[in-house]
Symmetry: C2
Subunit: 258 residues, 2 copies
């Protein structure tokens, strides 16, 4: 017999258009994804739940596969959570799937890897459809040479040169599982998968890769910048709006069906 | 020796996010694509040029490959027109390419065919990224049976059942070169190519196809509706915001490089 109410832990997959927001994490008096999710949960359950994200996205960054968790005493089904939260959430945030997990599961600690896309419109003219979702680079990028530079990134390395700040981080070593560029109809997508990322790592990486693609930085220099392991040496930091968190991977699929 | 100033004819390929506009065609006191293009041309050249489109799109409909023409006394290069018009055009309209053509060329009359995409998000949950660009259909669509129905459409037929109104049209016979659906990550795209289209033809066609895909209309009934050749029998008219004019084809590529 339980004397105290027990909590359920709910995991949500969330999509958002980050343009209007000051990033995922709660900030006083500023619109954030976390604040919107917590507000919607409170409207639905009456509870003040704290929402945690697998990967904290910066201001302006989008997500197609952010994963969050929160505790609740509500016994609503995960599917009902999805439908009801979408009723309360603003139009630029949507819950896509949900499941119930064990109380000790943690979306951040238990994530095996994160996947990000950085979108570039490589065109001499702007596009109404890329606006807010792709960074316009007018001069033609050499995708082949950029992909050669990407090969240096794959594996376990010290990525200090690609971080803008360290905050409380102890190590700048990360394991990059994939880094490659593809091009379709003028839209260049940089896909990067790693166990986790340093602050601004994807945006500094693509910033340097763009310089490689424009012939301003050679492969040798790219490698030297990486090997220098010096904070902020890579870059420039590409604009936030080109970045999108596409997926977070876990040991099992958590029973999520998207 | 020329006694009178001669006009140049400029052809532009134009992209637009149609959400804010009451369609392509000029309307008093309402925002339209034509009005924005004519305003930008006037700012650039000082002339009151009339802009004609290859395919007049309805309110809310998007374009990735609209083609327009206008006359000008300006001797600016086509490339300069693209760059300068993009400076004057609002962010949700962009010139993508331009060329100079002979005075008797006409983007509407000389077009061989038009290509449209209709986008459907086939998902139980809404998406911030599909908002304003894809029609949300929550129940699972049977794409295979929809593609079977599409086979009835290909060829020269009387499409009266798929038109909402006729206006000044004399014939409801059109030649459909392609009609098919593809699916990728929950996003269903209906691609339709024809010499030209009747009013609301694509939106009424996909409206009826969705009923086929949901099992509400059988293939036999689809064919009967088509054969009835009765105005407005197909449908319902799917929402405008799912529709996009993707391409207009001409006997040559007009020297356009997009």
């Amino acid at each position: 017999m339980k004397l105290f109410n027990s909590f359920n832990k709910i995991v949500l997959v969330v999509e958002y258009d980050g343009r209007r927001y000051y990033g995922f994490q709660w900030q006083a008096n500023l619109p954030t994804i976390q604040a919107e999710l917590e507000r919607a949960i409170q409207k639905l359950t009456g509870e003040s739940s704290r929402v945690m994200a697998a990967s904290r996205t910066d201001a302006g960054v989008h997500a197609r596969g952010q994963v969050v968790n929160f505790r609740t005493k509500s016994t609503l089904s995960p599917q009902t959570f999805v439908r009801a939260l979408n009723y309360y959430l603003p139009k630029d945030i949507a819950a896509k799937a949900a499941c119930r997990t064990s109380a000790d599961f943690n979306v951040r600690r238990d994530a095996l890897s994160r996947e990000y896309d950085y979108c570039i419109l490589n065109s001499s003219t702007r596009s109404p459809f890329a606006r807010g979702f792709a960074y316009l680079v007018a001069n033609k990028l050499n995708i082949e040479i950029m992909n050669k530079a990407c090969q240096f990134l794959v594996g376990e390395h010290d990525f200090a040169s690609f971080a803008t700040s360290l905050g409380e981080l102890k190590s700048t070593v990360r394991n990059v599982y994939e880094a490659k560029l593809t091009k379709e109809d003028g839209l260049v997508t940089f896909h990067m998968v790693a166990n986790s990322f340093l602050p601004h790592q994807v945006r500094n990486t693509i910033g340097l890769l763009i310089r490689v693609g424009l012939g301003k930085v050679g492969l040798e220099e790219f490698h030297q910048i990486m090997e220098a392991k010096t904070l902020g040496l890579a870059g420039p930091t590409a604009p936030a709006y080109g970045l999108c968190l596409t997926k977070v991977n876990y040991p099992s699929n958590l029973g999520l069906e998207i």
